[in-house]
Symmetry: C2
Subunit: 359 residues, 2 copies
């Protein structure tokens, strides 16, 4: 391992001079600069990143604003775990991550938590922009304080210069459409189950439906789509009667598309007979949904890779802080197609990390 010191000795100068050359600090005569550069080249020198990181006392602080999770509503657990894993890694390069959690149903909680966050004067922020109006206020504040920020999982349109890490919702719906059409015999009908109330201002579900429909319309083979608007996936009785009535009314339906993460609730109200002949496609690798994959009631799940979203978000922001790598405006994560057979492999990373945590 060649050190700065070695270069300095060979060039008959001090370490400081080599340092100045390495960092283009100026104050070195043309002649010695050339001499040093040649030696650097010849000895194939590269800065020891470990020592460099230590000396620079990199203490970038990064704040995360994310919905809290609990047993009944565990969606935000996986992004959180991914963020944690990312945080652990970027410690190596001197980045410190702090978490601020808000109630995903309350805009007030969102804003209040952000106010607490901004008091800590972070260098950058990763946030889930659940509410459009409030997010515009927040972004204004972030710009004023020149704090870098990245949207996680939820994208808000019309925010200039914003960076997004998450899924391309439209395309994921489009792919769901392709898989559905592939799985159904020609001429079959297909139902789309949506809910009237959707959390926050998130428009992901609408985009998925749009993608799904667009694939169907663009496809050469004729087939019909039917839509059912259910009140809530939480109300089991109500859901059951709606779905059964829907399926009776349109007996050509051989497939159901559930563009939210609640397809397991739908499975829950189907008869054994219906589970057999219906092809089901849904979203998100929640434990309940994965169970449905495994018992063959659900054919495909499209995964948002929530764990990876958190992980990548922390990493790209850290690389921006530490290495000045540019923040691209969109980082679309892979659109994972999950089946009974591959789901365990595709979840392996996050499972390994969870196991590590327990120890």
């Amino acid at each position: 391992m060649v050190r700065i010191k070695d270069i300095a000795i060979e060039a008959n100068v001090s370490e400081g001079t080599v340092d100045r050359v390495l960092h283009n600090r100026g104050g070195v005569s043309k002649k010695t600069e050339e001499k040093i550069k040649k030696i650097l080249e010849r000895r194939n020198f590269s800065i020891n990143p470990v020592a460099s990181a230590l000396a620079m006392k990199n203490n970038h602080n990064l704040a995360v604003l994310i919905p809290e999770y609990n047993k009944t509503d565990s969606f935000w657990k996986l992004p959180y775990l991914g963020l944690l894993k990312g945080s652990e890694e970027v410690k190596n390069i001197g980045v410190n991550v702090t978490y601020f959690k808000f109630n995903q149903y309350s805009p007030e909680s969102y804003v209040e938590t952000f106010n607490n966050l901004i008091k800590t004067k972070p260098k950058a922020v990763v946030l889930v922009p659940m509410f459009i109006k409030e997010t515009h206020l927040i972004v204004r504040e972030l710009k004023k304080t020149e704090t870098a920020y990245v949207f996680l999982n939820v994208d808000i349109e019309g925010v200039e210069g914003s960076v997004y890490v998450g899924q391309d919702s439209y395309m994921s719906g489009y792919i769901a459409g392709k898989l559905m059409k592939l799985s159904l015999p020609d001429g079959s009908g297909c139902g789309i189950l949506k809910t009237s109330t959707s959390t926050g201002d998130n428009q992901a579900i609408a985009k998925r439906i749009q993608g799904f429909k667009d694939y169907y319309e663009g496809s050469p083979i004729e087939s019909v789509l039917y839509e059912l608007k259910v009140q809530s996936f939480g109300d089991r009785m109500n859901l059951a009667s709606s779905v059964h009535q829907f399926l009776e009314e349109f007996p050509s339906i051989k497939g159901l598309f559930v563009p939210s993460s609640r397809i397991s609730a739908v499975v829950d109200v189907l008869s054994e007979e219906q589970k057999k002949y219906l092809k089901l496609i849904g979203f998100d690798n929640t434990p309940e949904n994965v169970a449905c994959l495994k018992n063959n009631t659900v054919l495909f799940l499209i995964s948002q890779k929530p764990f990876d979203q958190g992980y990548e978000a922390v990493r790209i922001v850290s690389n921006y802080l530490v290495k000045n790598k540019v923040l691209n405006d969109k980082l679309y994560l892979p659109i994972d197609i999950l089946t009974k057979e591959n789901v365990d492999y595709n979840d392996a990373t996050q499972r390994m990390f969870e196991n590590d945590l327990k120890q």
Copy 2:
């Protein structure tokens, strides 16, 4: 950031004592040990890996033994890029990676390159065990010198205590079977195209075929599989005549499964008519194959995630060297289902890295 010094001050002891507790060096009284441990816990202390790496003068050297690649046969480029990306990251924790490339068609080259490698006395080795017999010799040498090792991409059975990073070939074939059956009308036939000469002693392709067949046999709906053994995917004329004869002989065939990475060669010899009615499923996201996905001639590709394989291999070995994390025996990477629509998203990481390299 809590430092050892902070802990020492709070516990009213010296840094040396805290150090002894942290590393179980002994020589600390029960009482102070308990006191310090409590404080460590409460302050949520963790060793600063950067400073630690520097102080330990961590110069773990890691050697990689991998086939070389060129324009015509670029498969090994992606694992290599993944290894490079991993190498860059683990620099931060004091791991130095060196590459040794061999000719994938020559066992002699394999062994000779290894001999050069082992002279550098690496602490651990990542290798692609292309040849069974030679690998046994290599493993014996590695065990003798107590060098940790990890198999990349290719798994050799019957090597005790070996660690593998790659795909579960059987399951990937199984999933291909599922997708194929889903895509074909009931009662259609399906062809499997294999080659008689396969590189090295790699049995991945055989396992994929086995998985594919097993799905077909386990599936309730009746359908027939036909196999065609072609001489070589490189010989275009020969391939063309074999395939055409095959398809004429078995007109019920509506789908082709190509368990190697050369499905683009098959597309190349099909007529426009055949491209229309045949459903094609193959392996690996080579540029040629991806092009076939995009022009709708290939329906699905199963990706081995070669880039990720390299990346993960370097990381797990480094974590073993630096943090003493155990090496699990198998690290099966996600089985990615690629379609025209999602392929760009799923390749994004490696593309980003390639762009970074060019700058």
